[in-house]
């Protein structure tokens, strides 16, 4: 974890605040556009926020947080109770939404989904690629960074407030499509473009087979742990005295990533586990036994 000090809290749209977290012990860890951090809140909750500042400035991280009316205590805490001067721990940046090299980019952002897109658009433009942004919000006042984006990138940025763009018009776009926004926006993008690189804030509603028990071999100690049907792999490991860090516990943040050495994981996350990896909070096993590098 990295120690930071909350330097600035600034309202950047209706119900959205931007936080500047200054590194307390020299430069913060480097990050690439698309990356997010875990922010550990004083109320014991850990939440994931995309970095929306400048990757060239490692003196501080910048994030933006929308107050969720159905907040469980994360965004509500940030909005109501965090004041400048507060010491806050953040994780190393993780990136499940990396910018791949391309000649042409189309970025689709919905509401607070603009946060990872801001540095991605900047990097894409800096690379000399043809890059454009379609940014959708309920109304202009709910869209953080909209004015700055238009000022900086001019016609590359198209704003839609209170209405939906017709993505069909862009259907012949052949470059890389990146989308961050609500599930309805992702679905619309996926209906039009053959491949959409997406980051989700919420787990998708999917149906899995019944949870079954399986066995885990911890390769480092040789210990065998039983994971009962009514317990997650994460909980089983923690209860067996092999603590695994975790964040969202619903397969979107990636903080509980484990290396799989043998066996077949049944992936239930929304990140898209890289080969040989799995997320212990939601994923289970389709083979009776997994060998994990723990």
């Amino acid at each position: 974890m990295q120690k930071t000090m909350l330097d600035r809290v600034e309202r950047v749209a209706d119900d959205v605040v931007s936080l500047v977290l200054r590194g307390d012990e020299g430069p913060l860890e480097a990050w690439e556009p698309g990356a997010h951090i875990d922010l550990v809140l004083p109320n014991w909750l850990t939440r994931q926020y995309s970095l929306c500042g400048d990757p060239g400035d490692l003196s501080a991280y910048r994030i933006a947080v929308r107050l969720d009316p159905l907040s469980r205590g994360g965004s509500e805490y940030v909005h109501w109770y965090l004041n400048p001067g507060r010491a806050l721990e953040v994780s190393s940046p993780r990136n499940h939404f990396p910018l791949v090299p391309a000649a042409e980019y189309l970025f689709l952002a919905g509401g607070i989904g603009i946060t990872p897109i801001v540095p991605m658009l900047r990097a894409a433009v800096a690379s000399g690629a043809a890059a454009s942004l379609v940014y959708v919000g309920r109304s202009a006042s709910t869209m953080p960074f909209a004015a700055e984006l238009v000022d900086t990138y001019g016609e590359r940025v198209r704003l839609f407030s209170g209405g939906r763009p017709d993505l069909e018009e862009l259907a012949d776009f052949a470059g890389e499509v990146y989308c961050c926004g609500p599930a309805s926006m992702l679905a619309a993008a996926e209906a039009v473009f053959p491949r959409v690189r997406a980051e989700r804030f919420q787990p998708t509603a999917r149906v899995f087979g019944p949870d079954t028990a399986f066995e885990v071999v911890c390769a480092r100690s040789g210990a065998t742990i039983q994971v009962p049907a009514d317990e997650s792999l994460l909980d089983a490991l923690n209860h067996a005295g092999r603590p695994v860090p975790s964040g969202c516990r619903e397969g979107v943040c990636g903080s509980c990533e484990l290396s799989v050495l043998d066996g077949e994981p049944e992936h239930r996350d929304d990140i898209g586990a890289p080969p040989g990896r799995m997320y212990a909070c939601v994923s289970r096993a389709s083979s009776p036994r997994l060998v994990l590098d723990v």
């Binding site: 159905l70 469980r72 205590g73 509500e76 805490y77 787990p203 317990e231 909980d235």
Partner: protein, 212 residues
């Protein structure tokens, strides 16, 4: 049940009038700090409180008090007059719910580890399964089945003398735990069972593994 042969029956009962005359009038400042709503200080207190005691009573006035706890802020302040408590899995006895069904008056006492003052919230309550309320209480991908909605009639901060005298937050006070038999030993003894208390201990530990 009324007993006749216990010490509890023997002592002089002092009337409220006499209590009042001997204690003197309450400090006016203290009366003034009672509010009829959740102000910003009470809201902040609740947002940082991981534990409260919930007092209820049934139609006949028989009283009960039960502990509730989770991460700080597990009790949601929905507006100035409304707070919501999740009902996490427990022993399924539902004493509080049964009482509230008969008598909706409740008293809540919120604690924050390290803070000497406590927050008292009194009002009337009912059980709900409103999905928007439950959604705010989801932890570890599970929402509670029920929540308690409390319509707030009174909130106030209670002074820290009791917690100071009790040294409740002094880490040295935890040495008291060593003087208690284990829960397994107590249960085995209370049920007069000739079984290994370690077995109860294990059952209890197993049940504590799953908190949600």
């Amino acid at each position: 049940m009324t007993r006749t042969n216990t010490l509890s029956t023997r002592y002089r009962r002092v009337s409220m009038a006499e209590v009042r005359s001997r204690l003197g009038a309450p400090e006016e400042m203290l009366e003034g700090k009672k509010l009829d709503h959740v102000d910003k200080h009470a809201r902040r207190f609740i947002a940082h409180s991981p534990f409260l005691a919930l007092a209820t009573s049934d139609a006949a006035g028989r009283a009960d008090c039960s502990p509730r706890g989770d991460y700080p802020g597990f009790v949601k302040v929905l507006d100035e007059h409304t707070v919501a408590l999740p009902d996490r899995p427990g022993n399924k006895i539902a004493d509080s719910f049964r009482n509230i069904a008969e008598n909706d008056g409740v008293g809540l006492l919120f604690f924050i580890p390290g803070v000497r003052e406590v927050l008292r919230v009194n009002g009337s309550a009912y059980v709900t399964d409103d999905p928007d309320v439950l959604a705010r209480m989801r932890t570890e991908a599970k929402a509670p089945i029920f929540a308690l909605i409390v319509e707030v009639a009174e909130t106030y901060f209670h002074c820290g003398r009791a917690l100071l005298r009790s040294r409740l937050w002094d880490p040295a006070s935890q040495a008291l735990a060593a003087e208690m038999p284990s829960a397994g030993e107590i249960v085995a003894d209370q049920l007069s069972l000739a079984v290994d208390p370690a077995m109860f201990e294990q059952l209890l530990e197993d049940s504590y593994r799953k908190l949600y």
